[in-house]
Every structure is written in C-alpha cells, then in structure tokens.
C-alpha cells in the first residue's frame, strides 16, 4: 500500500503527514473548482434529474397503490417518494456515469504525465473525484429534493442516527463508485479502447445500483446476493435505504458497515490494478 500515499518532496518543517494531507486537500479543491466552472451544464443536468424524478416517482407510487398493504417491498408511499427524489439528487454526487477521463488519457498517452507526478494516480484521481462529489452535493443534491418535497409527501427521518449514517453512506458510496469506475477505466491499459467495459458498467450500475427501481422489489435471495457479492447496491440502494429508513436500526447500520468493507476492497483492488498496469505499460503516442 506504500504506493498510494500522497507524500511529496517538501522542504517545509511540516512532517510528511502534513505534506500528504495538504496535497490531498489541494487536489480536492482543484476537482471542486473544475466542476464549478460548468454552471450551465449544472443547471441543464438538474432540470433533467427533476423530470426523471417525476417520471419514476409517479410510476412507483402507482405501484404502491396497487400493492398489498400499499407498501411494495416494505416501502410505504412516502418512503418510495423519498427513495426516488433523494436518488435523483445523489445521482450526480455519486457520479456513476460519464467518467472516461482515465481511459481517454490512457488511450492518448497523456497518462505518462500522471505517472511522472509524485502522487499515485489512484490517490490524485480519488481526491479530484471527492472534490467533484462535494461540488455535486452543494449544487445538484438540493434542487431535486426540493422539487420532490414541493410535489410529494416525503418521509421525515424518525431516528437521530439516520442523518449521520446517511452522510457517512454517501461518502462511502462516492469512494466505492470511484474505485469501480477507476477499474473499468483502467481496462484501457490492456484493451486500449475501454468503450465496451464502460458501456457494461453504465448498464449494470444503473439497474443493479437501484436507480430504476428499489432492488428490494426483486426476489429476496437475488437482492441479498447482489448486496453481499457485488459493490453495485452500495452505490445508491444503500444510501437511499438508510435515508428512507426501510430497515430497523441494526440493519440500517449494518448496511453502512458493509459499504465500509466495499470501500476498502474496491480501493485496494484499484491500487492493485494500477500497479499491475504500470508493470506492463507501454505508453501510447509519440
């Protein structure tokens, strides 16, 4: 693991930890500023998130109307509305789609510049991604939630621990998602063209992450297998189940614990993939 720290050569009196933390913080800031420049895209994306929120919410509420006890898969109507609207807000915070930067840089050979830096690519891209998520949280999370609250009754959390657990769950989801996307992009080290893996990721992460419908609507064994054996439900399903209080306090906390395991696993795997790639890398381009 010594390859993914953010240590830089420094002539200040600060210790190595201070140096790493400062570098990491600066990278987060740069990720944040980068996305803050695309203001019109932020507005356009928010509009689209809200339209899809209405579409999904109405359909799920119609399902709830016909379901036994008006609570399909254990969600009542308010919990379903919360699930949909918080999900639309989180969509661009977690950022499951659209990140092809690493794959593009590998294909064009620009990755060589990243490898020359004193910070490992996994660390620096993670920091930039946390900055992106922070920007998303400040700009993209609120409007869909507000639109949802204006037009539908939402579930108000009843337990004190729900909000802190939800916050932790979002941070974990962002990191798991980053780890997965990093590995999908890194397939370009071997394939040159990562379009195929990227497409399968886009397809799988949306459905199996719980975006289109709560995965609890699937047979229980399938949901369990997906949650334990793949990181995908940890991307959206888990934070949304936490905030809508779908489960009792123990399972609610347990799901976030499971996310923590996936954070360690996906980031470690991403670092491993990066090390293996560096050993065989032939930089593209002249």
């Amino acid at each position: 693991m010594d390859r993914i720290d953010a240590r830089v050569l420094t002539i200040s009196r600060n210790g190595p930890f201070r140096g790493s933390a400062a570098t990491f913080g600066a990278l987060i800031g740069s990720g944040f500023r980068r996305y803050a420049t695309y203001r019109q895209a932020t507005i356009a994306g928010t509009f689209t998130n809200i339209v899809f929120g209405f579409l999904r919410c109405y359909v799920l509420l119609a399902v709830a109307e016909g379901a036994a006890g008006h609570s399909p898969a254990g969600y009542d109507a308010e919990q379903l509305a919360t699930y949909v609207w918080v999900g639309q807000g989180l969509l661009s915070v977690i950022g499951i789609w659209g990140w092809t930067e690493l794959a593009d840089r590998i294909r064009t050979g620009d990755i060589a510049a990243d490898l020359l830096r004193p910070v490992s690519p996994v660390t620096s891209y993670l920091a930039a991604d946390l900055g992106r998520a922070l920007h998303g949280m400040l700009t993209r999370f609120g409007p869909p939630l507000l639109a949802g609250a204006l037009f539908f009754p939402l579930h108000t959390p009843t337990r004190w621990q729900t909000i802190p657990l939800f916050a932790l769950s979002i941070v974990f989801a962002v990191m798991i998602c980053f780890g997965c996307r990093y590995m999908v992009n890194a397939s370009a080290y071997w394939l040159q063209d990562a379009r195929g893996p990227l497409m399968l990721w886009t397809l799988g992460s949306g459905v199996l992450g719980g975006l289109y419908f709560p995965l609890r609507l699937l047979p229980p064994e399938v949901t369990l297998a997906l949650t334990v054996a793949t990181p995908l439900p940890s991307l959206l399903q888990t934070p949304l189940d936490v905030i809508s209080e779908r489960d009792g306090p123990a399972l609610q906390a347990g799901l976030v614990g499971l996310q923590a395991i996936w954070v360690v696993l996906t980031l470690a795997l991403a670092a491993l993939v990066q090390r293996r790639a560096e050993r065989r890398l032939v930089v593209q381009g002249g």
Binding site: A64, A68, P72, R195
Partner: protein, 266 residues
C-alpha cells in the same frame, strides 16, 4: 444518382470503421440491447409487487411498453445520433458538413451510423409481437392497419423529438442533458399507461407534447378499451397524424436552427 453515391460512400466508411474493431462492436451491440431489455424487465419487476399499475394488467402494460420500445429503438437507430450535434457545434465540425453539397441532417446521421443499435430494434419489435400475442385483440381491418402504423408513427414522433432536442444546441450550446429529459424522458413516459402520472404532469407530457399518442392511445384502440381519462375511441387512430405534425414542427425548428447557426470560428 450522384447524391445517393455520396451517401453510400459515407455509410460504407462507417460500416468499415465499426467492423474493424470487432470485439468492441460486439460488446456495444449487446450493451445497447441490454438497455432496452432492462427497460422492459423493469415493467415485469414492478408488476411482481402489484397485479395492476394505473388500472392496467401486466399483459396490457407490456403492449404499451412494446409499442414505445419498438418506436423508440427504431427512431434512436435512425436519427438518435443527431444528439451529437452539440459537440459538432462546439468543435466547429458542423462547418465541414455545411460546406458539402448535401443536406446537413442526412449527413450528420450518416457520420456516425449506429449499426450497434440494430439488435435492440429487433428486441423492441419482439416485445411488441409478444404483447400482441398475449393480449386478446379483436382484429378488425382498422386495427390491422394500426398495429403496423403505430410503431412507425411512434418512430417518427420520437425522431422529431430527437431533432428538436438536438436543435436546442443552435440556440444554447451548453444545453447538455436538457434534451435527454424529452428524448429518454419521453421513452420512459410512454413506457407506462399515462393514468399513472399526476394531473398537470400528464397534461404537459401526454397532451401538450403529444406523448400519449405514441403508445397509450394506440394500445387502448388495439385492446378496444375505453380511455379511463375520457378521450374518444378514435384517439388511438390519429397517432400517425400527431407524428406527422411533430415531424413538420421538427423540420421547421431544424431549418430555423441551421439558418441561425454561426460558426464558433476556432
């Protein structure tokens, strides 16, 4: 004749370029179909929890999603690529298209001919055929015409929405995902009976924008079911007229956009 040869050359170049990366192409074909497969599977998953959604049974709902999927996948394959227009406008590639002695729209569509989207069209029509088979439809000559005309009308309608959404880039280069709210949003909207939506949202999408005539009204006409929302029985049969109206508006918007276009000059 010369024009046709030029189009054939554009299409041929596309064909050769996609077939030179066979594995990537295969994965893209499967991935593309997967997107539509998941849309249809979602309907089945939702019906696991309830026998009826918005007053419609699973068989009837599959007819609605089948009409929508067949029309959308066909439109997406034929004109869906027009949504790359915002990139062409931003990078200035559109200049190269405009100086050639061929109409701009067909050229743009052939510049990135989506052969990878062929399999999902097949899947869309398979779902529609399955839906026709499982529903007990009382076949009359009018309904026979409708089952052929409805998916084609849906295709023309979605195609018009694609062109209008893309034309937005002529006025607003950074329109980003706004178009998706109406193209992919329209697909999602038409995948379910419009009875599930709230009143003002339905008034806007179903009737003001016309999405009710893509799948919902034709499905009612095929099933011989009265519209719970009160439109007369012939409403399903006017879907080709609605599609033609949409196409006329799309053509007008496109021409206005091309006239307004100023090169980025970079």
């Amino acid at each position: 004749m010369g024009e046709l040869r030029a189009y054939a050359a554009l299409a041929g170049a596309q064909f050769r370029s996609v077939t030179s990366y066979r594995t990537s192409f295969l994965v893209e074909v499967i991935g593309n179909m997967g997107a539509t497969v998941f849309d249809v599977l979602t309907v089945f998953v939702l019906f696991r929890a309830t026998p009826e959604v918005g007053g419609f049974t699973l068989e009837q709902a599959v007819l609605v999603v089948g009409l929508s999927a067949a029309g959308f996948t066909l439109a997406d394959m034929l004109v869906g690529n027009v949504d790359g227009l915002k990139n062409y406008v931003r990078t200035g590639t559109l200049d190269a298209v405009l100086v050639r002695p061929l109409p701009a729209l067909p050229q743009l569509l052939l510049m990135d001919m989506p052969l990878r989207k062929t399999l999902r069209v097949v899947f869309g029509f398979v779902v529609l055929s399955g839906a026709v088979a499982v529903n007990d439809i009382d076949w009359t000559p009018a309904r026979l015409v409708l089952i052929v005309a409805a998916p084609l009308a849906a295709c023309v309608f979605f195609g018009s929405i694609f062109v209008i959404s893309a034309s937005l880039a002529f006025w607003w280069v950074d329109s980003g995902q706004v178009g998706s709210a109406f193209t992919y949003g329209g697909r999602d909207f038409t995948s379910y009976p419009v009875t599930v939506y709230g009143e003002w949202f339905r008034a806007l999408f179903a009737y003001a924008l016309g999405f009710a005539f893509v799948a919902y009204q034709p499905a009612l006409a095929l099933l011989g079911r009265a519209d719970p929302l009160g439109l007369p029985a012939w409403a399903g049969f006017v879907s080709p007229l609605v599609a033609l109206l949409a196409a006329a508006i799309a053509a007008g918007v496109w021409r206005a956009g091309i006239r307004r276009y100023r090169s980025t000059g970079s």
